[in-house]
Amino acid sequence: MCVIKTLKIRVALVSVITCLGLAFSGCSKHEATVAEVGEDGAPQTDSTSTMVPLTKVERTKHSRKLNDTGITWGGNYPKDINYECTALVNVDQLPDGETVTGDILAQQDCANGWDKTAGENGLAAYLYKKIGTKGELLADDASSWSCVLDEVTGLVWEVKQDADGEYGKGVLNDADDLFMWYNSNIYNNGGAIGNWNSQFDQCAGYEAGKPTTYCNIEQFAARVNEQGLCGANDWRIPSRPELESLVNFGQTMPAIENAYFRDTKNEFYWSNTPVAGFKGSAWAVSFQFGFSAPLPRDNSRHVRLVRSYVSQ
């Protein structure tokens, strides 16, 4: 079989984009107040239980595993966004020769899906529960929590701590820590192992010459599993689709529910998914803007661990 390399080389444009640090936006960020989940499909939870109940989400008649996008506002054409789910065509701004006839709102994201009734609170797109250090379910207004359960996807996520601009300081889940991409699983590393990052002191516990302390994603997961997190020892690096399930497309900087995922950096987070055709790259997701991009594996980036919630 002959495989022709595509002529169009994909370049990661990303660093250019991420340099734009200033937020300008025609749309105010939704206040991140925690709302009660609506009566349709409200999770039945027992706050006294130490087990985490994964309730079936019955927002729709089929078993749905996809989050909505969090977009509750409309886009005008050819530019600008609105506070509400409305949309206008600005005829004066159309490119020469272009005419638009018909409704540009009915098909838009905000007019469809379960978050269309979310109003001012994009959180209605997500069914998150705070989890404590031993895996216990916490109240929505708990001020301290270690993990978050997503009841739609059935995934439990690591919550980072101490985003103070300094690596480590003895806290394994430090929000500032950086890791290179490293994956010894030959069935899912794209044919190359990545970079184990022997020399950079970018994460908690690094010691030169001690591979188990190196700042790469695989060793990080191993260290968390050895110590245990939220009562579990089966933490892993998320696949790209799993990681993208956390993106709130309704906001940027950060593009995630910061009321639950506090201390999220406006940076890239690694997935464990290799890039087909590029052994030196892996997929990352920008939690500044929400998009996915192939990045070189020797980049130092953040990572957020995941585990699958196992129904008792």
Partner: protein, 176 residues
Amino acid sequence: MSTKSNSLVLLLLSLLSGFALAEQNCQTDTIAASTPLERFKQSEDGTVVDADTGLMWRECLEGVTGASCDEGEPVALTWAGALTYVPTLNANGGFAGYSDWRLPNIRELSTLVELQCSNPAMNVVVFENAPSTHVWASSPYHFYTHYSWYVDFSNGAATYDERIVSKTLRLVRDIK
């Protein structure tokens, strides 16, 4: 014909046409499949149901027909063109007996990305002859407010572009 001259012909064609005719590249042994075949149920009527998401897709891009999606050229429209195309299609009989087709949002569209492949990053057993095109989502972008989201099916990236740029369309509907 030797594979060498085949590749030369393909190379010339891709240079001349500007379309990505490069052969699909899949790493089935070294990258986990993100859209395994068992998730999907193809129907004679040109629709595909994804049991994982509960969504029904049209197998071909808009503008393309045929049992293997090998007839016609994909329609390419601006974001506004895409948003107005779908209600018109639904009002004119829809497709396969359904008149509630939608433009997918960015999360829905991303579920069709096959990450073990590129050119295209799609399961071409399910979506036959799928080209490496850019496909519009129904989701506007928050930061650059003249952009909207799309999926680049050459490598599977979920990203965004100016709304005035023309891209192809792949329709979805909810299973009631």
